[in-house]
Structure formats: C-alpha cells, structure tokens
C-alpha cells in the first residue's frame, strides 16, 4: 500500500508535515512517497529550490522517499504536461513502475488541484481517493478552472490552516469536498523543529515581507519597488530605526538593492534576510513588533500563530488592478484588505471596518465563478444590499452576474460621467479665474509703469 504526496513549495510541505503530525493521514504503516516539483518558468536555472534547503530536510523525514518530479518527466515542464488520454494507461504503468510502486495506491495528496502538475497526477493515478491541502489564502476562493468529474469526484477532503477566523475554504465546494482544519499546535511544532535563522540584533524589529507581483502583471517593477519604499518610510515615520526586509525568494537582489538605497537616504538600518527559511521561523525567533506586506500569507501566519501585529499597504491598488475579475489572487487580496489593518504613510495603523468576512468572501466568490457557485447568489445580493458595491466589486461584473441591472449600471456610468464633467467645469472655471487675475495684474503693472 502506498500514499503519494505532492508539494511545490516549502509552505506547502510545512502544511503537509503538520497535517501528518496531526494524524490526518492515520498511522504510517504503508509506504509514503513525496513528489516535489519546481514549477518556475525555467526550473533548470533555479539554485534555491525549496527541496534542497535545510528546512526541507527536517520536513522530509516523514516520507519514505522523495522524488523530484521534474526529473521524471524531463525535459517537459511540470506545468505544461498533461498526458494524452490514449496514452494514460501506458504512462501510469511506466511511472508507477519508475516509482517502484507495485501495490495499491491508497491516496493521492495534492495542492492546486485544478492545474498541472497536480492535475497531471490526478489523471495518472486514477483509482484512489484524493485529498487536497491548502497552499495558502487562495484556497478560501472558488475553484478557478473546471475540475473534471474524474478528479473532483474523488476529492473528499480539503486540509487547511485556519488562517482567517470564521471562514472555511470554498475550493471544490461544487464537489462537496469536506474542509478539515490542520491543528494549530502541529503547525507550530513543525516550525519549531525547523532550523532557526540568525537574527543578530534584530529582535523585535518590524519586518517587511516582499512578494513578487511584477511578473504577474499586477504592479510594474518600479511600482513594486516604490511600494516597498513607502512601507519603509511609513515604518520610519512611526519611529523605527531598524527594519528587516524578507525579499521573495525569486526576487532577491532585484527588490533588496533599491530598498537598501532608500534606507541609506532615510538614514535607517535595513537588514535583508537571505536565510532560505520560511518567514515564520523569523517570527518565532525574533518576535517582530510588526509585519508589513501587500497581501502575503505571512500577514496571517504572523498575526494568527505568533502574535505579531500585521499591517497591509497596497492591497487596495491590487484589488483595483486584478484582471480578469476571477483572478485567483482576488480572494487573498480581498481577505487582506478586509481583515488586516492598513499602514498609513504617517505610520498609523488604520483598522478595517468590521464586516462579515464569511459573507464577503462568498459574495466575491460568487462574482468570480458564478456558474460553479450559483447557490451563493442570495448571499451576494444580501451583502451588496447591506454594504454597497464599492471596493470589492466591479460594476461590469455585477451586471453580467445579474446583481445589478443594466439600467443601474447606465445610471452609475452617467453619474460618473456627470461628476467628471463637473470636475472639468470647476477646474476650467478656476483656470479662467487665475488667468483673469494674472492678466489684470499685468495690465495694472503696465499702466503703473506708463504713469510713472
């Protein structure tokens, strides 16, 4: 008997380890194989693959074998390969043989079920139940791509870290998958077993957690560096003289160097971490006063598990820019905006207005994927009736899903056009007034000169 697990991030492997320790996969009385996959654009040139890190070494002890999936299918790209339907029996036979599995596969455990390589594994190992585990805040959102019956119909459980109080994942709800919480205590224990980073004299210093939003087209490279600079300035305005920056593993120097320059201008000390360990180990070792990010999951792990105050900056712009509306980052950005206090330019923390987060998530989820979640129409309508449509919704999408009528949309667009026209008129009048004042003054000056 064999269980097959799949992971493509350190965070995912940590969640998986915590779920195992929490007994969610029963006793280890069968063979457990972990497939790790590097899904970056050019995996061949990644020199910081998570499965080569010392942190992963402490996690992987839970498995009998760890197999690098990229090697199995080389030179194909894990995100680009789905086996052709008529070759599946052949490929299943050869790959199970390659993995030295000669008996029954009892369970397939994956994250990101809708896309390859998880989908590829679902297609190859077709006779076992599937357990999906959460790879972050996206799990709270609806299923992005249609999941075939052959895969979705086997997905019995969604394992997730309880990052946002009061809500459960919506992923695969169209297949009635059961959300199951990974116990907090097990997650904390997993982190406590990881190697501890060298924190130097940074105990308590606030942490900026970088993401890598420019390759996703959400922010330009300049805007992303600008956002980090604004975060740093706000922390300095709040009186901090020493700040820690944790760049996204794939961004490294690209983000660190410009922020170092800003820190020098501001005359503050910026420590850039490069320990290759998850940021949660830093939270545990350094107890930062504050963690700031745009909408990183670290805001939630920090505040939920390590008592670190979390603050967001820039999530509002992300909400505005994300396109199409069903972009998977919408739920993480929405949750951040709705739950995490905002960091103002002067360093103040601005708590978000209290809203029913479960209702908000379901309303946004309905607008993102109305076909798969048509039973959420009433929730969405009720939320909008109570809170209005600003911030989290787009008029065009609300119209196409039937939450506002085309008439209302027209009225709104007309209203917006009218306000814009009034704005032009006001500015034009002011400009004319300034010209007139200037012209009169010039006339006065000329006549005064003539008189003298």
């Amino acid at each position: 008997m064999t269980k097959i697990f799949y992971s493509s991030t350190l965070y995912g492997s940590m969640s998986l380890a915590a779920a195992i320790d929490g007994g969610l996969f029963g006793a280890h009385d069968e063979r457990w194989v972990l497939l790790v996959s590097n899904n970056t654009n050019a995996p061949e040139i990644v020199d910081t693959f998570f499965a080569d890190s010392p942190a992963f070494a402490t996690l992987s002890r839970r498995f009998d074998d760890v197999v690098y999936w990229n090697d199995v299918i080389a030179p194909l790209h894990p995100s680009g390969w789905i086996p052709p339907a008529n070759e599946i029996p052949l490929l299943t036979r050869l790959i199970t043989e390659h993995l030295q599995i000669s008996d029954t596969i009892t369970e397939l455990v994956v994250e990101s079920i809708a896309v390859a390589p998880a989908r590829t594994l679902g297609v190859l190992f077709r006779d076992c139940p599937i357990t999906v585990y959460s790879d972050g805040l996206m799990t709270y959102g609806p299923t992005r791509d249609e999941v075939a019956m052959e895969i979705g119909g086997r997905a019995g459980r969604i394992l997730y870290l309880d990052l946002v109080a009061g809500i459960a994942p919506l992923l695969l709800r169209e297949y009635d998958a059961q959300p199951v919480v990974i116990p907090d205590s097990n997650f904390l224990k997993v982190i406590s077993e990881l190697p501890a980073p060298e924190i130097g004299d940074c105990f308590g210093a606030p942490v900026i957690v970088g993401q890598y939003l420019s390759p996703l087209g959400i922010l330009s490279a300049a805007e992303e560096n600008g956002l980090h600079a604004r975060m740093l300035k706000a922390l300095v305005a709040a009186g901090h003289r020493r700040v820690v920056f944790t760049p996204h593993p794939s961004a490294g120097d690209i983000h660190a160097r410009p922020l170092q320059a800003t820190a020098r201008e501001l005359g503050v000390d910026l420590q850039v971490t490069s320990h290759g360990l998850p940021v949660e180990t830093w939270f545990q070792a350094a107890h930062p006063e504050l963690v700031v990010s745009c909408f990183s999951t670290a805001l939630f792990t920090g505040s939920r598990y390590f008592d670190v105050t979390a603050a967001t900056m820039g999530a509002e712009v992300v909400l505005e820019r994300l396109t199409p509306y069903e972009n998977s980052n919408r739920i993480p950005a929405t949750l951040t905006d709705a739950v995490i206090p905002g960091l103002a330019e002067n360093g103040d923390l601005v708590p978000p207005p209290t809203r029913d987060v479960a209702q908000l998530t379901e309303a946004v989820a309905f607008c993102m994927q109305p076909q798969r979640n048509d039973d959420l129409f009433a929730v969405a309508a009720a939320f909008i009736a109570e809170h209005g449509t600003s911030r989290y919704f787009k008029n065009r999408r609300l119209t196409s899903v039937g939450l506002i009528s085309a008439g209302t949309l027209r009225a709104r667009l007309k209203h917006r056009a009218r306000r814009r026209a009034i704005g032009y008129a006001v500015r034009a009048r002011a400009m004319v007034r300034r010209w007139r004042v200037a012209a009169e003054a010039a006339y006065e000056a000329r006549s005064a000169a003539r008189r003298s």
């Binding site: 040139i45 020199d47 194909l76």
Partner: protein
C-alpha cells in the same frame, strides 16, 4: 596567466537584458575551475552592460565590450580570439542551459577524441518544450564529417547549422571562424566549412540548450538590408563546393530552399529590396552548371518561384 582552461564558452550578446540573467545564472550553475566564460557585449544600448557587470561581481566572467556593434559573426570571432580553452563552444544570450550540460559536452568530446561533437537541443515556448534532434541517426561514434553533408535528398547535418549545438577542439579554431560582416545566415558557410575541412566528428544525444523560440527583435524577424546577407552567405557556400561535384547538388538544393522561403516571405521587404534580391540571386546562380541547377530544382510549387532567377541556358533545359 593561469593554467590552460579545459573549455571556453563564447557568449556574444546584444540588447538581451531581459533574458541574459537566465543565461548567466545557468552558466554559474555549470561553473567548474577549468571553464572559462567569455561574454562579448556587441554594442548593447539597453541595460545589458549593467547585467553583465552585476554578474561579473559574483562569478568569473571574461568580458569584452564592442562600443560599435559588429554583428553576431564578428562578435563570435572576437570571442574566439580571446578564448584560451582546449575546447570551445558558443551560446546565445537569450537562451539558457541545463545543469551539468557543459560537463557532458566536455566528457563527450574527451571520450570520443574527435575534432568536434554536435548535439541536440530543446526548443521552449512558454511551458511547451520540444526536443530537436540533430539530423544524424548514428550516435556516439566517430564519423567522417563529409558524410554528414550528403545525401542531397535528405535533411542532413548542414541543415542543422546552430553554432551553439556543439563543442569544438581548439585545433580547428581557424575553421570555425565566422565570415566577418555577415549579419544573417552567418552559420551557413560556417557549417559547410566545418564539415568539409575537418577530419572527424560525432553526434551525441545531449540536449542541454534551452532555446527560446520567437524572441521578438531577433535579427531573423527584422527586414532590413542585413537580411539580404543570406545571398552573400550562400554565395560563399556555393564557392566552397565549386570544385566538389559530390557536394554541389546538396549546396544548390539548400540555396534554392532558402531562396524560395525568402521569396515567399518577401512581403516584408520594400520594392527596391526585392529588386536587389532578385538581381543578386541571378548573379549568384549565373556561374553554376545549368544541368546541376535544373537537377536541384524543388519538385513542388517552389519551382515556379526559382525558375525566373535561373540563367537562360538552365531555363531552356528545364522547359525541354
């Protein structure tokens, strides 16, 4: 000067700031004490020099800068002049290589002991990858380089002219120089010389170059006078085989295939450029034996594209 390097990797680059970090990162991952990397910045006017300077702080790079661009062929020659290695290979700045690729190349040529080894590669577009095989079925055995040119009727090693798909002994350095000033098809006369003038070669199933398909702004997609250099390139090829009746049919066929392709896609050229192209093609073909020209005509509709460019004698033969 330090000990002789085992391998020199010659990487000419021009305006590839966006892709160059991938290539340099992959070179860093391939680095060994005996490997020498020679990067020639051929007059880039984007941030390529900055990328090179950044990486040069972290890895051993021999860097050369041409203030005025001289073109890919001459830039590779600049690299050849600077290279000190026992073996030589080329790479392009917008591709990347897999881990261990350079070591595989060296081990292969070391084991086979021939003048050069040609290899396969992987073409990448987004997440799609296709392995392209060098057109020679016999692998890992030492072959006669001229046997890789013929027959004329099949796709052969001279139809796979990528300079970066191989490794070369320093002794053949003069043979693997490029024709200075050629701005397109510079690899055509080069691959013919390689197979005509060397003594031994082999083909190995090593696929380590990840070649980006359809990188915008690559020279092959730009229509300017430099595109007409393909005629100069094939004039050189035809001259090189002028006294080799067994190779000439293949050279003429290849010339026709490329010429037909250029005519089919000539909408990108101006009227004046098309006129120059026709005239120069006629001049190129005028000195060739009419019988050989007619025998090499493609059997399909491309025949009609080529026919008007043939000398009168050949047209009469074809009609008969």
């Amino acid at each position: 000067m330090s000990a002789e390097p085992v391998l020199s990797v010659i990487v000419p680059v021009r305006n590839v700031a966006r892709y160059l970090p991938d290539m340099l990162t992959s070179l860093a991952l391939n680095a060994e004490p005996g490997f020498e990397y020679v990067v020639i910045d051929d007059g880039s006017d984007d941030s390529t020099p900055k990328v090179i300077a950044d990486y040069a702080q972290r890895m051993a790079l021999t860097t050369i800068r041409n203030e005025i661009p001289v073109g890919l062929a001459s830039a590779r020659n600049v690299g050849l002049d600077a290279a000190r290695g026992r073996y030589l290979t080329f790479l392009d700045g917008d591709d990347w290589i897999g881990p261990g690729y350079l070591r595989q190349l060296v081990d292969s040529i070391d084991g086979l002991g021939c003048d050069f080894v040609r290899v396969d590669h992987i073409q990448v577009s987004e997440r799609d990858r296709v392995t392209h095989r060098a057109p020679e079925a016999r692998r890992n055995v030492v072959l006669e380089p001229r046997s890789g040119i013929v027959p004329a009727s099949r796709r052969t090693m001279v139809d796979y002219p990528y300079a970066w798909a191989g490794i070369y002994r320093r002794e053949i350095r003069d043979i693997i120089r490029f024709d200075d000033g050629l701005h397109t098809a510079e690899d055509r006369p080069w691959i013919w010389r390689l197979h005509q003038q060397t003594q031994s070669y082999a083909v190995a199933s090593i696929a380590g170059v990840f070649y980006r398909r359809l990188v915008a702004n690559s020279l092959t997609q730009i229509a300017d006078d430099r595109q007409l250099h393909f005629i100069d390139a094939f004039t050189l090829v035809l001259t090189q085989v002028a006294t080799e009746p067994d190779l000439q049919p293949k050279a003429i066929r290849q010339t026709f295939a490329v010429l037909a392709h250029q005519i089919q896609t000539s909408a990108r050229f101006s009227h004046a450029q098309r006129k120059v192209m026709r005239h120069r093609a006629q001049v190129m073909l005028a000195s060739l034996p009419p019988k050989a020209l007619v025998a090499a005509l493609p059997p399909d509709n491309r025949r009609e594209l080529i026919r008007p460019l043939l000398p009168r004698e050949a047209r009469r033969l074809d009609a008969a």
